[in-house]
Amino acid sequence: MAEEVILLDFWSSPFGMRVRIALAEKGVKYEYREEDLRNKSPLLLQMNPVHKKIPVLIHNGKPICESLIAVQYVDEVWKDKSPLLPSDPYLRAQARFWADFIDKKIYDIGRKIWTTKGDEQEAAKKEFIEALKLLEGELGNKPYFGGESMGYVDVALIPFYSWFYAYETCGNFSIEPECPVLIAWAKRCLQKESVSKSLPDPQKVYEFVLVLKKKFGIE
């Protein structure tokens, strides 16, 4: 049975990275297609007419949109290798809760750090650290959020680590002194090929942010 898997993505998107990691963890062969977000392909517009956004996972011609939905789909279809969600319903609910928390907080607050300044930026930095500390609490002294191996929450969060350098430099602050356990966790995840091959160079992300700042006229 020939499986055709295509991922419509953009190199610096943390949401795209989640799907890359999930596919890599499962050993799924797929075609990565880089989208030009200023000139979206007809395929993207056809496969995600509702949001017109990446990532879009296309499995045998059928699109799955929204990164966490795509990650869960990958987990369910390629279920024989590296399960991402636990099998216990309560633990699954906890994993979904924290992934939802990450979705509600990290991207938007992180974005505020590099798009604002003054009081607004200070407030965003504070909120960001608070959110990371809550996540640290959830991690506890486990090697991964998933326990002994990487799981759903790890996949949901680790992409944002590639943006930390950009946040820190734009916000003139350092995350590690505040969240040493989380940084240690991130470095642990990066030891895995599925992660290291899916995340871009933080320096490149920072340079990209500078281009965006210039484009949007942000100081």
């Binding site: 949109c65 789909y73 369910e76 279809v77 319903p89 309560y90 609910a93 979904r96 809760f97």
Partner: protein
């Protein structure tokens, strides 16, 4: 199958979603009505991160966030499944549930709480999103097919609260002319027994909206 409690609020659509799912599956539970203006120590203990309802307590263990709770309920009590079985259809159900929560509902709330130009803009936005949702319904009786599924449960604000909000504000967002398919779905929805029996009392909800609309800046 263990002790089930629900920390909820009589008027909250999120809370009612959980009740619909539990009742649909014949699960007995104890409902604890929270006063959202004066949250109980129990709520703050069981949902310290968001401090919101609903919170499901199963054998003393808390689960928060309505859609997370719905997934948990479906995985724990297998009668009358609300999620599709097949991974692709399941992904679609999750997609539409998210669309309702992230696009449709916020636009609807924005209409209610805003005024003038902001309100006009919110109405335009809501129409676009509801049209998209209506297209998904096509010629099905429910989003779930012949019987209600998770998307129907998540669409409860559109199915019931919206009608009450429209009456309270005098705004006509969903009409038979503008949304023939969605209007049909709303009729089916509120006639469906498991839904009908799990809606807040209409008059009480209408009064609550009317008084909030007349009160200074309410934060939902």
């Amino acid at each position: 199958m263990g002790e089930v409690k629900l920390l909820g609020s009589w008027g909250s659509p999120f809370s009612r979603r959980v009740e619909m799912a539990l009742k649909h599956k014949g699960v007995e539970y104890e409902f604890i009505d929270e006063d959202l203006a004066n949250k109980s120590p129990l709520l703050l203990q069981y949902n310290p991160v968001h401090k919101k309802v609903p919170v499901l307590l199963h054998n003393g263990k808390p689960i928060a966030e309505s859609v997370v709770i719905l997934e948990y309920i479906d995985e724990t009590w297998k009668t009358n499944p609300i999620f599709p079985k097949h991974p692709y259809e399941k992904a679609m159900a999750r997609f539409w549930a998210k669309f309702i929560d992230e696009k449709c509902n916020p636009a609807i709330w924005q209409i209610i709480w805003s005024r003038d130009k902001e309100r006009d803009k919110a109405i335009e936005e809501a129409i676009v999103h509801l049209k998209t949702l209506e297209n998904e319904l096509k010629d099905k009786k429910f989003f779930g097919g012949e019987t209600i599924g998770v998307v129907d449960i998540v669409a409860n604000l559109i199915g019931f609260w919206l009608g009450v909000m429209q009456e309270a504000t005098g705004i006509e967002l969903v009409t038979k002319e503008r949304f023939p398919i969605l209007s049909n779905w709303i009729d089916e929805y509120v006639s469906c027994s498991v839904i009908k029996e799990n809606l807040p009392p209409r008059e009480k909800l209408l009064e609550a909206f009317k008084s909030r609309l007349n009160a200074p800046a309410w934060k939902y």
